[in-house]
């Protein structure tokens, strides 16, 4: 019926026709600056994209050429006026617009079919609960593990996401998978995908959600199925990626680890490091480097020494006293960070008090 259907069958490779389609796919994808096709549905959707863009460029090109020809051919010259009376023949209009309507309906049929596919997860899907909040993503699995900033999923198995939000509307977007779904407070929406192979893909927020909107980044880490099983059992994958801009939860430190190390992991897990840098870089909130014990000017003119009491207050009731020059946007972590974690995070901040960056820390 269309190039889009043909594309669906061409993914396996082998045979001259498939080679041709693969080359065509590579050409279009580069010309249109599309990201990699990392989910099972990505190539189908791109196929429809190519199909429509090709027809449209042909149509727009035709309009441009015809208009240009008329301009040159019928430019105003002596003797051109008066112009003849020309009125559209009805058959011409009917054929043209019926053909166009047929084409548009074809686009709609293919797009709607794919939309239904996008909306209907298979029953065998792995479930993940996604909670968005300003400005981080949290992921929880029915088996128990939870993580912030990194979504671990198995390759080759469908994954169903149940999305919601704690505060305002966010939108979960993975360009490499060609999926997007709003996370709306007070309701659950669903989305699903099946990743083709192990790898890492960016998650972006596409619904305006405040000053941290463009920093609300996270990653999908696609694991081999066996590694994913290990992750579910041990709450952490065998090989944890340790780089990237977003807050990566490392495997929780072993019991008895120094409190500052536990604090660093907790800060990453709760997304603190998305707004507070640990290397002195100015972000949405003050950098933690050299912050502990310093004296800061508040927005209301008061000068305050950064003590454990002030840090605790700032975590639980952030709007009360804001450091001058920063927006009053930090959400409360009341009831979300345990007392033990609070102590550990403060200890980690104390370890940065001397102004020497934490060499071991993951760059968030």
């Amino acid at each position: 019926m269309s190039a889009a259907w043909a594309f669906q069958r061409a993914t396996d490779g082998g045979g001259a026709w498939d080679d041709f389609l693969n080359a065509l796919n590579a050409f279009y994808r580069r010309a249109l600056t599309l990201p990699p096709q990392a989910s099972t549905i990505a190539r189908d959707i791109d196929g429809l994209h190519y199909f429509e863009i090709t027809i449209m460029f042909a149509a727009a090109g035709l309009i441009a050429v015809v208009a240009l020809y008329f301009v040159v051919r019928y430019r105003r010259r002596p003797g051109r006026d008066p112009t003849p009376r020309i009125v559209a023949p009805h058959w011409f209009e009917m054929v043209l617009y019926a053909g166009l309507l047929g084409l548009f309906v074809l686009f709609w049929v293919i797009g709607f079919r794919q939309y239904i596919d996008l909306s209907a997860p298979p029953d065998s899907a792995v479930d993940v609960y996604v909670t968005a909040k300003q400005w981080m993503w949290e992921f929880a699995y029915p088996e128990g593990p939870a993580s912030a900033g990194v979504l671990y999923v198995p390759a080759g198995r469908p994954v169903r996401l149940h999305l919601t939000s704690r505060d305002v509307i966010h939108s979960f977007f993975v360009p490499d998978f060609r999926i997007k779904r709003d996370a709306v407070p007070g309701m659950y929406t669903t989305a699903w995908f099946q990743a083709n192979a192990p790898g890492t893909h960016q998650i972006l927020c596409t619904e305006m959600c405040g000053v941290g909107h463009s920093q609300m980044l996270a990653r999908v880490v696609v694991l081999r199925p066996a590694d994913f099983e290990t992750f579910l059992l041990r709450r952490a994958p065998a090989a944890t990626p340790t780089s990237g801009r977003d807050a990566t939860p490392n495997a929780p430190p072993a019991r008895g680890a120094p409190l500052a190390v536990i604090g660093r992991a907790a800060a990453a897990r709760h997304g603190c490091l998305g707004c507070h840098s640990i290397d002195g870089t100015r972000r949405t909130g003050p950098s933690w480097l050299g912050l502990f014990g310093s004296t800061q000017l508040m927005a209301d003119g008061e000068r305050i020494r950064v003590t454990p009491a002030y840090i605790t207050e700032s975590m639980m009731d952030p709007q009360r006293r804001i450091v001058a020059g920063y927006p009053p946007v930090m959400p409360s972590f009341m009831g979300q960070i345990s007392p033990a974690e609070t102590a550990a995070i403060i200890e980690y901040m104390r370890s940065l008090a001397d102004g020497i960056p934490d060499a071991e820390a993951t760059r968030p």
Binding site: F70, R75, R76, F104, F107, M208, V211, S214
Partner: protein
């Protein structure tokens, strides 16, 4: 020219026209003359365009580098919100209807004035009050929600969202009055012989726009009031933390705001129908097709709002219905494009500035329209929704289209309004700058969207930088063109060559009066015997 009923002004004597009949400031501020009200709207909406344009320039400058360039995230969010609010409600919606609709509608219909002249004057003041309230909100801290005001963000934001919402609410009253006035004028004040199928196409376009304004704007007003109540009194209509439904807001908002894009583009389409006829000296290829398509857009445009919500959590069935209705509305736009291009066939085409904007419109509208069909394909919309692809799409079709319409109208009817010509060569240079600037600014944004860059992003991953730089450079070209236009039009107001009554040789009915028109438009009511722009009759 068989309907000309006004004797041409004898040269040498000082003819009384609407500009020189009274010249005090008071006479302008208390005028009920539709032509003067049109000029007042032209001044105010052009000022709004300049303001919104400065915001856009700052935004593009900030996006020159991936991180913060020269402002913080909060300022950026406030700026893009103000850019959207000012451009949509202070410029795009009121500009062509307020300025050219007011000026031309009675002239084209052969009427003395609009149906409610004093109400018309009120619409000027209500617009001014709305603009002041919006700008007061901007000074008080501005909103940072985007022009869409989605709750619960808009009910929680610490910024001054209430005055901005209130200002938009007041502006809505102004445009509703304008719409009401145009509808009644078109029904009741047509001159003898002006049957419905002889009405100029610009009037049809403004008439259809007015219907949308009158039906849709009250829904916006109601919705904005509910947001204000949610924000100020924690009422809980839309805020889920108080038991409200944020998706309900999106339905109500887009029930207005989708038809609103037709409020912006329909008048520009009307300008194009007039322009292509007048500068090709040719009857329109199919008058009926344009009229049917105009009314079709106004009607079907009300049934497509859900296509803004394909990722919001609407049912699959509803989404499908909104998808196919969106395809239908695209058909009507395609009908117009084909009709305009066919009108050029065997014409006598003069490439004056308005015609250059017609070709700019044709290009931007064709690509904008076809990418519109692409985003109406639902699976593709899931990918493109809230990315720069959509930003590029609506800046091509809605902003580009309306801007081209506004600039074409400004140049086409400048001699009508002021009796003077603008310098031809400067106008060509400016048109080329603006049109190429538009293409340069927004074409890279299609690729940015394809690559997955979300909109409303203060900072962006490094891989998007090259295309952002090109886009920013394009914004400077648009600015240069617009500044040039402002300069030579101000020059031409005083020093431009006298244009005579009809410099373009146009057969539009509005040219049946002298230029600039006398205060009362027509010495005696004209009698219309055929459609406008029947150029083959000039042989008779």
């Amino acid at each position: 020219m068989s309907t000309t009923t006004t004797p041409p002004a004898s040269p040498g004597t000082r003819r009384i026209d609407y500009l020189n009949v009274e010249t005090t400031i008071r006479s302008w501020l208390t005028t009920t003359d539709h032509k003067r009200i049109g000029i007042l709207f032209l001044i105010m909406t052009t000022a709004a365009l300049a303001l919104g344009g400065v915001f856009a320039l700052l935004l593009r400058l900030e996006l020159l580098t991936p991180g913060g360039t020269f402002m913080d995230a909060m300022s950026y969010n406030r700026l893009f919100t103000l850019h959207g609010v000012v451009m949509v409600w202070l410029f795009l919606i009121p500009s062509i209807p307020g300025a050219f609709g007011n000026f031309l509608l009675p002239l084209m219909l052969g009427a003395r004035d609009v149906a409610f002249p004093r109400l018309n004057l009120a619409s000027v003041y209500i617009y001014a009050i709305g603009a002041v309230v919006v700008l007061a909100g901007a000074v008080l801290g501005g909103a940072d929600t985007g022009w869409t005001f989605y709750p619960p963000y808009s009910t929680h934001t610490p910024t001054a969202v209430v005055p901005v919402l209130l200002g938009v609410f007041i502006l809505g009253i102004s445009s509703t009055i304008t719409g009401l006035n145009f509808i009644v004028t078109t029904h009741t004040l047509r001159t003898e012989g002006m049957t419905w199928l002889r009405i100029p196409l610009f009037v049809w376009a403004v008439y259809a726009t007015s219907i949308i304004l009158v039906i849709a704007t009250p829904v916006l007003g109601m919705t904005l009031l509910l947001i204000i109540l949610d924000h100020a009194f924690r009422l809980g209509i839309f805020d889920p933390a108080l038991g409200g439904d944020p998706i309900l807001f999106q339905h109500l908002f887009w029930f207005y705001s989708h038809p609103a894009v037709y409020i912006m583009i329909l008048p520009a389409m009307g300008v194009m129908s007039e322009t292509v006829s007048a500068f090709a000296h040719k009857n329109i290829f199919s008058y009926n097709a344009i009229v049917i398509a105009t009314l079709g857009i106004a009607f079907v445009g009300f049934l497509t709002w859900g296509h803004h919500m394909f990722t919001a959590g609407m049912s699959v069935f509803d989404s499908g219905a909104f998808g196919i209705l969106s395809m239908f509305v695209a058909i009507f736009s395609a009908i117009k494009v084909f009709t305009w291009v066919s009108t050029l066939y065997k014409g006598s085409i003069a490439l004056d500035a308005p015609m250059l904007y017609f070709f700019g419109f044709l290009f931007l509208f064709s690509f904008g329209g076809m990418t519109g069909v692409a985003v109406a394909s639902m699976s593709l919309d899931v990918y493109w929704h809230d990315t720069y692809f959509v930003v590029a799409h609506f800046h091509f079709i809605m902003v580009g289209g309306s801007m081209m319409g506004f600039l074409a109208a400004l140049h086409y009817w400048f001699p009508k309004m002021f009796g003077r010509m603008f310098p031809a060569r400067s106008s060509t240079v400016a048109a080329v700058l603006v049109i190429t600037g538009f293409i340069l600014t927004f074409t890279p944004q299609f690729w940015l969207g394809n690559a997955g860059m979300p909109r409303r992003y203060y900072s962006y991953p490094d891989r998007f930088q090259t295309l952002n730089v090109i886009s920013t450079v394009g914004s400077w070209a648009i600015t240069a063109g617009l500044v040039l236009i402002g300069a030579y039009l101000l020059y031409a107001l005083r020093w431009g060559a006298r244009s005579g009554p009809n410099p373009w040789g146009s057969l539009g009915f509005e040219w049946n009066t002298p230029s600039p028109p006398p205060p009362h438009n027509y010495e005696e009511p004209p009698v219309i015997t055929h459609q406008p722009h029947e150029y083959w009759r000039t042989a008779e």
